[in-house]
Point group: none
Chain length 191, copies 4
Amino acid sequence: MEEKSKRERLLISAYKLFKTKGLNKTTIQDIVDDAKVAKGTFYLYFNDKYSIQEELIIEKSKEIFNNALDKLSNTKIDSFDKQLIFVVDYIIDYIQNEPEILNFITKDLSLSLYQDKFTKLIENDDLKIYDMFMKGIKDNNIKLKRPEITLFMIIEFVSATCFSVITKRISLSVEEYKPYLHSVIKKMLEN
Amino acid sequence: MEEKSKRERLLISAYKLFKTKGLNKTTIQDIVDDAKVAKGTFYLYFNDKYSIQEELIIEKSKEIFNNALDKLSNTKIDSFDKQLIFVVDYIIDYIQNEPEILNFITKDLSLSLYQDKFTKLIENDDLKIYDMFMKGIKDNNIKLKRPEITLFMIIEFVSATCFSVITKRISLSVEEYKPYLHSVIKKMLEN
Amino acid sequence: MEEKSKRERLLISAYKLFKTKGLNKTTIQDIVDDAKVAKGTFYLYFNDKYSIQEELIIEKSKEIFNNALDKLSNTKIDSFDKQLIFVVDYIIDYIQNEPEILNFITKDLSLSLYQDKFTKLIENDDLKIYDMFMKGIKDNNIKLKRPEITLFMIIEFVSATCFSVITKRISLSVEEYKPYLHSVIKKMLEN
Amino acid sequence: MEEKSKRERLLISAYKLFKTKGLNKTTIQDIVDDAKVAKGTFYLYFNDKYSIQEELIIEKSKEIFNNALDKLSNTKIDSFDKQLIFVVDYIIDYIQNEPEILNFITKDLSLSLYQDKFTKLIENDDLKIYDMFMKGIKDNNIKLKRPEITLFMIIEFVSATCFSVITKRISLSVEEYKPYLHSVIKKMLEN
DNA sequence: TATGAATGAGGGTTCATTCAT
DNA sequence: GATGAATGAACCCTCATTCAT
């Protein structure tokens, strides 16, 4: 009697290999070998490499975001900008501890593909970040003409700069960078 | 007597195809067919697809940046934040008019590769943006602890958000977005 | 229902082509075309041209040697030097009847590669020639300080001269040559 | 004013590269680069890689053989079998000191090609080994029915076994092997 | 469901040879 | 004689995808 379904085994193996070798260098053969299923079985559950990747990105991202919000709910932070910064820091620290995840989310990944996935992610019902942001704005009486544009700018800004810092594209440590990051986020929330 | 060297013909064809089909989907066969040279000729001038791409990115990026600075010198804008915004707007408008260029700079392009190129680009002697920024800071008596971190944040912020807007990943027009963009840049230059 | 496996078909086609065109001039495309399988199928069973060749050399050589020893066991020859000469003659006659086999064992074959294969061949458990030689030495009370050196000299001498004679490099027929060959072998077995 | 003709420079470069990299892995580009002449120039003097190789084999072989005979004439050895063994040993020692020459004469060299060259070599007017052998036979009153067959057997025997020993195909040093070699040569000269 | 042998288009790359200058 | 840019056929090899079992 098997513990995991073949579908699950394929997801687990793909995640492991994408992190290690990146998307492009991982072949379907690699995945099925690792999952110990036949090649044809892959095609019973997924169309191609990219659909398995898409599923993984959504799953893992949700996991990280929602973990951050759970941790936040156990704190007593009540100012909104500090809450937002708490979430941002949680995610940065998470990625810094497991930077190979970037191999799988970005390296060898066309930006445009990623972006499609990102939109799907944000729109996903299970993701509470959008709601949390809107609720925070309201509860704290922050006046923003179009708050969704501010959220968009924050996400893009954090992603782009943190990616550069974590992958050491710029010689700046995460801890050195954080004060600058926090300062800009705070300013973005001013009107 | 031929007008263009074979090397130039290869660069022109590659540029055209990278814009149209993206890097990954363009094969060397495609490039030599379009340039009407033999396959072996490609290897006379370039090692592989990536070296021709690198040359094109540097060439085209320099072109855009330096055009922006030239145009700026023909204006009478004297406040530094306005100068910076002028340059940013010039680049955004340029890309908006020729958005296929993003296919070639980003689509199907691993982020990390691009980033190597970006560093090379910034360090390039011919590129005046770094100097222009440092001089502006000084001349306008703007006090920034580490101005290179501010420049880094501005570039990343502009690139990431404008890419999303131009590629219509978010339903927001460039003109709608510009005031938000300008406002954030100004705030980043405050101390 | 097919009679032969694709692997066998590849071996048969390779054998045919190596004999006809030699190893270097036979391409993998030639082999798969002849075997009527797809190119990828080749790589399912063999790493490259050389691994299929190696397998064929071992197979064919074992066949010839062991046939010689079988035939010998059906005779009443009991003096050792005559037994050895019987085996040598059997092999020479075999090759003379199918001289194209030399194209495949030697022509276009770097000597050193062949030599690696030769060592593997001699060490092969299924090959009885070494045992037969050592047993013969002992049974016939032939005193040789280092019998393995004598075996080495006989094999090299027979191979080199017979190759030249069979390939008509020297204008001397096999039958004319045999008495000289036999005479030298006999002398090598003297102490 | 150039010291060496381009033709000579090509021969020298080819010799150097054949010894180092072997025939197959040396390209015409390698040769002309090393000789510092243009690619087209190669074709003014040689048809292909193999014709330059052929010329080198003949030239180098003659050099070695004739050096051996010169050295012999400075000794007082007067028994014929000892003279022959002197020549054989000279050649073996020469090759042992410069074993890379085998890369160029044998490795990557189809045996059959070599054999054509060998015949040409033996027949070459400048080569005194044949004459020396026949004269020695006569002067020493050695009765051989067909002396050219004995010469053939000696050359093949020496070449094949020494090649194996020098290239370490068999774990036997040259010095260990020499007594066996000499003994067989002597026996071949007996009637 | 599950298998895995078989497919074959298509990729990158090499290099002997030619020929206009 | 001398050049070297240009050629393009030929090669090896990969791998997503199919399909009979």
